[in-house]
């Protein structure tokens, strides 16, 4: 089932009265239960696109259709934890008072913060803050999750672990995930569909075959990597 359909999206910003086009008739679709990766160079408009999808900003033209019953969640490029709340309170942020404590406790364990429940954000490392933000996003039970370079602050191993966690949650709950990254290996490791963004458009679409055990160092991933590199190298 389609999670969202984006058609001819346009967005520009004005910088000192100069119109600066960021998205230029951009179209794509994303499916529930799949990870759609948006890959592109810094400044190509990935965050802008997510902000439009989440409704934080309004497009100049084009349409975004999301099934009205579907709840959209977002994990920002920065952790954005509330400084006055403990780690645990941050993760349960915005939940109703009678929220499922067990579920939250499990989430805290999976992101490895069980010893830091009572810590305030300033007492957490950058990577820990990012993990808390991931747990907060997952706690929301969204049908569609927009993730903006969620693991950029994590070390290689924690990053792999968190990628597995996202895959597990997606399989378990059938969440549709739009995942922004500029790490090609990460895109190949978790994406069902990889969209390469360039000059305000989707310039390449790569469908990754469903294999149970992905080896990014084998074919067809090597060819995919070459294809992406060629598209973005100039």
């Amino acid at each position: 089932m389609k999670a969202l359909i984006v058609q001819d999206l346009e967005k520009s910003y004005f910088l000192q009265e100069n119109k600066h086009s960021v998205l230029n008739k951009l179209s794509f679709t994303a499916t529930l239960g799949e990870i759609t990766v948006l890959l592109g160079r810094s400044g190509c408009g990935k965050t802008t696109l997510l902000r439009l999808l989440s409704g934080l900003e309004v497009a100049d033209a084009g349409t975004i259709s999301i099934p009205p019953t579907k709840k959209v969640g977002m994990m920002f490029q920065e952790a954005r934890l509330m400084p006055w709340l403990t780690c645990e309170e941050n993760i349960a942020f915005g939940l109703p008072k009678n929220y499922d404590k067990k579920y939250i406790d499990n989430l805290i364990k999976t992101v490895g913060l069980e010893d830091f429940k009572k810590a305030y954000p300033t007492q957490l490392s950058g990577g820990m803050q990012q993990r808390a933000a991931l747990a907060r996003t997952l706690a929301q039970h969204s049908d569609i999750i927009l993730m903006d370079e969620p693991f950029a602050a994590l070390d290689y191993f924690t990053r792999l672990q968190m990628q597995q966690e996202v895959l597990r949650i997606k399989d378990m709950l059938g969440t549709g995930i739009i995942f922004v990254t500029h790490n090609i290996d990460e895109a190949l490791a978790i994406g069902d569909k990889i969209l390469v963004m360039d000059k305000g458009k989707i310039s390449q679409e790569i469908y990754v075959p469903k294999v149970s055990d992905r080896d990014v160092l084998q074919e067809p991933f090597i060819s995919f990597k070459k294809q992406i590199l060629q598209a973005l190298m100039y």
Binding site: S54, G73, M74, R80, W84, L85, G94, Q123
Partner: protein
């Protein structure tokens, strides 16, 4: 615990040095004991005033006025700050007036206040309220208006209503600033009360100091000055403890 609460020896050095210098200068008798009484003399009258209850009474009278004036000012500043944050459209209607009031030295109002409110308690309380309200409103405004937009976006994503955004993000993020405003406001309160008591009062620390001057009791005046400083320190300290109890995260920010 923040440095603010630790009464460590480093903080006491400056007092020891000042008192030491005072003892030496007094011993050298450069100035007459009327101009600069010896520390022993000041200590002696402080003890007398404590035993007679005069010092405590004056301090309590001043404290009561500060408590009332400061409290009223805080409520006004807080409510107006809330209104400004919740209904930004209303702000232009009062900001200019508040700025106007804020720049009037409160002591200049005393002649009018005596005329209108008499020389009773209310004129002093009004002076304190007026002196404290402006600076405190600035901090409340800065706190509520300066809320990080990125945090508000988190609230929008989890589906908060306008009310929830306010209570769960704007207000908590404003507390540290409001707290600073209260401490600044407290300083203004103390300054205003002493001034008011010196012009129009028959009780309180300000009156006590002025009265000592007319009686040529410089030692008593010094006791009064020290009492004001100690009162201010204690109030600031109490405020700090209260805020740390209510908002444990502030020291961690």
């Amino acid at each position: 615990m923040s440095d603010f609460f630790q009464l460590n020896s480093k903080k006491l050095i400056i007092f020891a040095v000042l008192i030491g210098a005072w003892i030496i200068v007094a011993k050298l008798q450069i100035w007459s004991s009327y101009v600069l009484p010896a520390p022993e003399a000041v200590w002696k009258s402080a003890m007398e005033m404590l035993i007679s209850g005069e010092l405590l009474e004056a301090t309590l009278v001043s404290f009561k006025r500060i408590f009332l004036g400061f409290g009223i000012a805080f409520i006004f500043a807080f409510v107006l700050g809330l209104i400004g944050a919740l209904f930004p459209k209303l702000r232009p209607y009062y900001t200019a007036f508040v700025d106007f009031i804020r720049h009037i030295p409160p002591l200049s109002l005393i002649p009018l206040l005596i005329l209108w409110a008499g020389i009773g308690e209310s004129s002093k309380v009004i002076v304190i309220t007026l002196a404290t309200f402006g600076p405190m409103l600035l901090s409340v405004d800065a706190g509520l208006g300066g809320c990080d937009k990125k945090l508000l976006e988190v609230g929008k994503i989890v589906g908060f209503t306008k009310q929830e955004l306010f209570w769960k993000i704007m207000l908590p993020s404003a507390w540290p600033n409001i707290f600073v405003g209260m401490r600044v406001g407290l300083g203004y309160s103390l300054r205003a009360i002493i001034g008011a008591e010196m012009v129009a009062a028959s009780s309180g620390l300000g009156y006590m100091i002025l009265d000592s001057q007319t009686m040529s009791r410089t030692d008593k005046a010094i006791v009064g000055i020290i009492a004001i400083g100690v009162l201010g320190l204690c109030l600031d300290w109490a405020l700090g403890i209260l805020m740390h109890k209510l908002f444990p995260y502030i020291e961690k920010v």
